[in-house]
């Protein structure tokens, strides 16, 4: 084919793409996902097989709490605790939209009662209490209920001599509950400290977007702190740091990989190896304390 034909073929190909004006509703929501990293369009069915990892570039999509529990807990071992705990509105917080509306909307759209799911489970045969945060629920922010569920998770583990595994994702403390939210940081840290004093293991998996009051409390107090590839983790968000310092941020700032470099995280573990890694760690860490 002469070169001119080749260009023509390219021209034709441009018209094979989807008409942007065509109604998008005939593609059911959630069937296709665009990878934010490599921009490939990924079939959601494929993502289910890879536990939310892009088959093209390895980008880790966020998992919902039920999906995450499915990837970690031994089959049929997970028994949820405290699912009936629900947020009230202690400050009658009404700026912009009422807090009660935010909570009701989050409950309806996520199908969860709050931003963390906790429960007893076994992981690779080890008895654990597993806690998983879900970013869809008001940015998985920590208010009274999240703090209470985390504290109870540690207390159950302490009473039953189980390990605690927390998979975190959070925008931070939930401002709609004001100081009651801030104090959940102290409450969860205190509960984690009691587990540590009893020499029971606590392992954290930092998932994408763990910030603020959650990072600055129970999420960084693990005996071992792991992170998912590409997860963004810090105290102050990157935009705030940029505004406060008027400096441009270094490449890879606050990524899991840079946190390992700076000595803040033990290892970056791809999702496909997470269960195996946690099982191996529990094998080491239960020797001294629990048996």
């Amino acid at each position: 084919m002469p070169i001119s034909e080749w260009f023509k073929a390219r021209e034709d190909r441009r018209y094979t793409s989807l008409d942007p004006s065509a109604p998008k509703t005939d593609v059911p929501d959630g069937v296709w996902e665009k990878c934010p990293s490599c921009k490939h369009i990924v079939y959601a069915g494929d993502l289910e097989h890879t536990d939310g990892v892009c088959p093209h570039c390895g980008h880790h999509f966020e998992l919902t709490a039920p999906e995450r529990v499915g990837t970690l807990a031994d089959e049929d071992s997970f028994a949820e605790m405290d699912a009936d705990l629900i947020s009230g509105d202690p400050l009658s917080f009404t700026a912009a939209k009422p807090y009660t509306v935010s909570v009701a909307t989050a409950r309806e759209s996520s199908g969860l009662s709050e931003a963390i799911v906790t429960g007893r489970a076994t992981l690779g045969g080890h008895p654990v209490v597993l806690g998983v945060m879900d970013f869809r629920f008001i940015g998985a922010s920590m208010g009274s209920v999240v703090g209470e569920k985390v504290a109870r998770a540690f207390e159950v583990a302490l009473a039953e001599r189980r390990a605690v595994i927390m998979v975190t994702a959070s925008g931070g403390a939930r401002m709609q509950e004001g100081m009651l939210s801030l104090m959940q940081m102290a409450k969860t840290a205190a509960a984690a400290e009691r587990l540590a004093s009893a020499a029971l293991p606590y392992i954290v998996v930092l998932a994408n977007n763990t910030y603020g009051g959650v990072t600055a409390s129970f999420a960084t107090l693990g005996d071992v702190v792991l992170a998912e590839p590409g997860a963004m983790v810090g105290f102050a968000g990157p935009r705030l740091v940029e505004q406060a310092t008027k400096l441009s941020l270094p490449k890879g700032f606050q990524t899991a990989e840079s946190l390992v470099e700076h000595g803040m995280v033990d290892a970056v573990v791809p999702r496909a190896e997470l269960r195996e890694t946690l099982t191996a760690l529990l094998g080491y860490l239960t020797l001294g304390g629990a048996s």
């Binding site: 202690p90 700026a95 801030l182 940081m185 102290a186 600055a216 999420a219 803040m264």
Partner: protein, 328 residues
């Protein structure tokens, strides 16, 4: 007056009237017409009226401004006035010394103690050195070292809160700001000695909390303690920092709010207009309150102290549900 008076936003109408009055009063007695004299009298009455009403029933946003007043007594003022034989301790033994955090040993009313506190400067020069009281990880790690020292040698901890928040900087993040705060929380939670916290000015979020909970929380009337700064809350809610006043009203951040939420044990009144109007009186009142709290806690055995502190934390929160406990 050699130093220009710092005017808080809400004081401006009063200050403008005061200045106008001062100007009128400067008019030569010979040039004073009866009309002018009457105007002066009216204005003087208006100034008196406004002065009496302005500082009564201050709103949350006005209190935040008072808490940030540059002349408000600072951690250093309390340490100097209330503690004897003070020995400051420097450094986190890993990276450096953070001048935004005070840690040291001191004796208050005959009681030896470990003293902690956020440190703002008195002027720009000192504020730059102290990073405006915004602590880096090494500051929290120094505080934690001092807490551990208190625990080992049976010294109570007295902590003064006055920070806009932990510093949101690149290096602070790289050195583990969140980790440093979390470690302080864990250490404070089971420290086997009495911990008395005083909110003297700003209580900004996690940076305040790192040295900001214990067995007693004493708040000055116009001090605040908040999960997020009113400005940042306004940006998140309305994309507009100018709506900070409204946000301050939503956050329940005043000393009175904290008492209502059962978080503060004691609220100490301030002179009309704020602590900067009569620092000596406020510092003395804080000394009496801290002494009283230390006396009350001195006889509690260490294990009961730790158990009660944990129970105190466990009660905090508002949870609805069958297995939940309804309350604040």
């Amino acid at each position: 007056m050699s130093k220009r008076r710092f005017v808080m936003e809400f004081e401006r109408p009063l200050v403008e009237l005061e200045e106008k009055l001062l100007e009128l009063r400067r008019i030569d007695a010979a040039a004073l017409t009866p009309e002018l004299a009457m105007e002066i009298d009216t204005l003087a009455a208006e100034v008196d009226r406004l002065h009496a009403s302005l500082y009564r029933d201050l709103g949350p946003w006005e209190k935040v401004q008072i808490a940030r007043h540059p002349d408000r007594p600072k951690t250093q003022d309390y340490v100097d006035a209330l503690f004897e034989d003070v020995i400051e301790l420097h450094g986190d033994r890993a990276f450096g010394d953070d001048e935004a955090m005070f840690a040291g040993l001191g004796t208050i009313a005959g009681r030896k103690a470990v003293v902690l506190g956020h440190r703002k400067g008195k002027d720009i020069k000192e504020n730059i050195r102290r990073n405006f009281g915004q602590v880096h990880p090494e500051g929290f790690r120094k505080a934690r070292r001092a807490m551990a020292l208190a625990g080992r040698f049976g010294l109570p901890v007295v902590s003064f809160l006055d920070t806009a928040g932990a510093f949101p900087g690149i290096e602070a993040e790289e050195r583990g700001q969140a980790w440093a705060i979390a470690e302080c929380l864990a250490t404070l939670s089971d420290l086997p000695v009495p911990v008395v916290v005083v909110g003297i000015g700003e209580g900004g979020s996690g940076g305040a909390l790192a040295i900001g909970f214990g067995d007693r929380l004493i708040m000055l009337e116009n001090a605040y303690y908040s999960v997020i700064s009113p400005e940042m809350c306004a940006v998140i809610l309305h994309k507009d920092a100018a709506k900070a006043a409204e946000a301050a009203g939503c956050l329940s951040l005043t000393a009175a709010d904290l008492a209502r939420l059962d978080l503060a044990d004691e609220v100490l009144p301030e002179p009309v207009g704020g602590a900067h109007r009569d620092p000596a009186q406020v510092i003395e009142a804080v000394g009496v309150a801290v002494g009283g709290a230390l006396d009350a806690l001195a006889t509690t055995p260490a294990d009961r102290l730790v158990a009660e502190r944990y129970a105190r934390l466990r009660r905090i929160g508002h949870v609805v549900g069958e297995s939940g406990t309804t309350g604040t």
